[in-house]
Symmetry: D2
């Protein structure tokens, strides 16, 4: 059994990770930790897990965690992970960071978009960007896995086959993404109140959302060109789900068949479903799947590629487990749901 | 492997059953059937199950189903099951009916509340009321299991320890129950439209809801007295969940300790969680659990017992699988979820 | 023009009051005040009112308010109003308190249920319980009007004709009430977050909710007997609306006709609608109306009376304006909506 | 008093029109009609209007309507209006069509996108596209007003200042729009059921939604160039509201100041609010306002212009009343709300 520590176990992503790991046949949760709730039972904070996860939460002390765990999941506020992870920690445990600290290869880009100093720049080159469908082989040997963001997972995977194969103009890409409210976290903020979110939709972070450079990094790498794109996230009155509408200009002469072939790289991916109808977030809810669909518009010369994920699963905790499964040589789908009930 | 047929696989309860069975280690779905969608792939109707349940739906022909299945689940409109099930069917397959046709022991009561003739009165005595926490031993040998209704499961289980032990006055019981909208089914009715349900709550079936005699039958049997009670259901703008508030007058002299002791009959039940705070439906969502809590009000002399279930799981498909597990001698919890993620 | 001050203008009830008064032909908002947002424009806090209510918010100083206003509305945390209102304030302005401080005639009852000292017990006898349909004549001359609570308005009005006419047993009354989330206010509390409220229903304050004694006071007064009743509130995933299911035992021999006649006292009330079908909260949303319906259950001997209001309008701001209209001799319906759009 | 007929009074847009007109000081509803509910009281279909609109619904006979009304509002399925309106009707009544039949100047474009024959092509040139902020002067003398669609109103008004002033490249415009569910109408369709819409978001009509040519027509006219653009609508789990994110490439050299100046054409428009923060649909709910905001992204060279309306008000019934006010020389804002309560 792999022993797992979770630091930040009571945030929404951390709690989803706890839930998924509780059903994982190869993992034992040895060190569940929470800054705010150390000393409480996990199921007192999440009563839905009563009888399943009644363990007492520990202090979020990474050194103790490293002593008791083979893998440490970090689900912490931005900037914290990079000040906690050290070579020593990595020598004893694999670290999978659900936050942003190790996702951007370029420290300067991080500091510009996050308006904060990076505390562990030397570790950046040891980290792998943990998007398995693109970096599976690199993930295998790594000790430090930067689990991608929710919007970014959805956006990158939806556009990757197109940029990788040079089928779209790299200039002018627009990503209009919509997220459920769990993406805003469990913090007691006015903007997260039921009555402030319900019965409304809004854009936020227009032109400056932090997930932008992450998407650009991965798509630039795939295309070999510097991609600068437009990314706009939105808050939707629902608990879970991300839908990303990706708009791009098709390169002249590209056919439907070319596009179909490009997406066929996902054919054997267990968590990618190529669907005919525009994807709906309810159909991936609770699963680690991404549903992808696309349309070419001959009138405009554009392609519209649409991807849908569950922001807490493929966009966070599920993908972290997928990364763990890869890192430890387990079946990649172990513990991860492939089918969504409906209505849920 | 147990071979299972599902007639009515594309209604909400039927589809949830398909989903649960698809994760069940001891079952193979051999005959999924749908009146409306025969010939389609299940995952075309429920795209969330693409890649998991792509099988083609069959005609809802119970005789063919009986040839190909050890257990037949019926999830059909009221009145249909009683005209389909025969001794011959029962001789080859166990039948678990998610509908109401075999729940009421007294045909006259059925016909009065359902305003329709009963087509198989002779089978009534062969049927068992499939509420495992109360009738587990009777379920074991039976070929025809009447799976309880959603409101009824929640109401009966919440009140059972009190009536069984004579702790409450059997006169004057009030059950005020609230249900998510999936309980209204997948029919294209005006009252089920998003804009007709959202941002509102209402009572319906006041004084005449069909689940009333079912609750009365079971509680009367438990108490040994004829119980006539007030049951009022409500429609709540959410997908899933039932909350039942049960009000009753405590018998003079009954103490907190007496009540605690009465509920301790559930102590070892895998699907019953006795909780301190009032139960919330989100904490049982997707699980086969019932959360139960109670308060004695010394001012009024009442006890308020509160129960919460997921109407599609413990209130329908999950309990049907629990019954199947019992009938076939499997671990009762096999395939059934015990912990609820949150937010979900 | 009546000059109006609002202290606590940026809470949900206060803001609704601002909105209603902005459409009132006889009122000028002369002193809008907010403890948290003094110095900001109202429309910066509530952008939906941009162009309509751009005035700058003042300090919540009741003495200044009294200098500049004929009527002062208080929408403040419990316990604050009773420490602010004085004889001097009342000599210059009519005070309408949307909070609980002056609702209970008996200071001891207040202190028991609110667990706090009452700061202005001498003013209690000067206050009138501002439920116009019951106390209209008393309201007319009063300087201090205690605007009723939301649950209480709905519960009292629904049961009043029955208790007033002695048609129900005063023992054993059960009120099971359901409220939208705006009733929890605009405070940044975990339990008010979108993801904690959405897709769930729960009871709270079981046996000890503070609105209980207020309902009991008014119904006891109406019946001439000491009424002790069971009141259970619930949180529903919707913005607005209260539904109260009131259960009581009919006195022997009472007929449908007796009940109909009792409710006919509301016949000419502009804000009471007697409806045939069970009321739905969406049909009173945004209005100052209460919809009331009832059923007698011959099986149980009970009557179930159902009332629905908008908690922020008839349950708070709208009723406050109705009280102001009465106190100042205006048309009682001025500024108040009578019809609800749907879907809204 | 202007006498008004409404044909199609029980659809969501028609009912909202009924509600708005019921509060309009200069209008009397003389002929409310419904194909499905003729003979019923309006308030039996919309109980929220009980006591306000209890009139009996008539047959939807346009000739009778013309005899009894100065203005006829049509809220009918596509294709019906063009077969009903005649020169004779127009000679006696002003017709305001909330449907699409008279919006597109070019019959061929209509027939291509709507896949149906146009029944009144001769009337097309008599019709004016009723977007007051752009065509106010043309509306004044016209007898046939084509009330714009919901998505189109929001999209056109948001982009108009930019295309009118040549500030954006006319090639490559992307409109990603999101709508509440009332936009799908009151029809009993599977896709409109609560459980099919709730907790999910999806795109639909990708590349082929019928509102596309309407947006292109108006923006092409404003710019003097043939604009072909990408329009993608989405279904959001909320009752009301449209948000349109409009992406375009700024023409080289265009400054923030140029953009600000362009939008200043709306400065004195009563229903346009230029806001700093990204607009949220809740802030226009129930009003006839559009909130518009924009950001220039120097990294990408794009401008993102965002508009938000209430689809049933500015996107349908409210704008129809605005058009009527203009056509009959009334104050343009009469009967129309300018401020949105929140939460609502």
């Amino acid at each position: 059994m792999i022993k797992a520590a979770i630091l930040g176990a009571t945030g929404y992503a951390g709690a989803e990770l706890m839930r998924i790991l509780s059903c994982h046949s190869g993992v034992e949760i040895s060190y569940p930790a929470s800054h705010s709730y150390a000393g409480s039972k996990f199921s007192d904070i999440y009563p839905g897990m009563k009888g399943v996860l009644d363990m007492v939460l520990r202090e979020d002390d990474i050194e103790k965690a490293a002593e008791e765990a083979d893998v440490i999941f970090l689900s912490l506020p931005a900037g914290l992970a990079s000040s906690l992870v050290t070579e020593k920690i990595l020598s004893s445990s694999v670290v999978i960071d659900l936050g942003a600290d190790f996702r951007l290869h370029d420290r300067a880009v991080y500091e510009k978009w996050y308006h904060t100093e990076h505390h562990g720049p030397k570790l950046l080159e040891k980290a792998v960007y943990g998007l398995p469908e693109i970096h599976r082989n690199e993930i295998k040997g790594k000790r430090l896995i930067a689990n991608p963001g929710c919007y970014t997972t959805c956006s990158i995977m939806t556009l990757y086959p197109l940029v990788k194969n040079g089928l779209i103009e790299t200039k002018g890409i627009v990503i209009d993404a919509k997220s459920g409210t769990s993406g805003s976290g469990r913090g007691e903020k006015l903007g997260s109140l039921y009555c402030e979110v319900n019965e409304s939709i809004k854009a936020y972070g227009v032109t400056n959302h932090r997930h932008t450079p992450e998407i650009e990094q991965e798509l630039s790498e795939a295309s070999g060109k510097d991609i600068v794109l437009q990314f706009t996230p939105h808050l939707v009155p629902m608990n879970r789900g991300i839908l990303a509408d990706c708009y791009a200009r098709l390169v002249d002469g590209v056919s439907e068949e070319d596009v179909r072939k490009a997406y066929s790289i996902y054919e054997h991916e267990p968590f990618v479903r190529l669907v005919d109808n525009p994807p709906e977030t309810r159909y991936v809810k609770g699963t680690n799947c991404i549903d992808i669909s696309w349309r070419i518009d001959k009138r405009t010369g554009n392609i519209i590629a649409l991807g849908a994920i569950d922001n807490l699963v493929k966009g966070a905790a599920g993908q972290a487990v997928q990364n763990m499964n890869i890192a430890f040589g387990l079946d990649e789908t172990e513990g991860l749901s492939l089918g969504a009930g409906s209505p849920f």
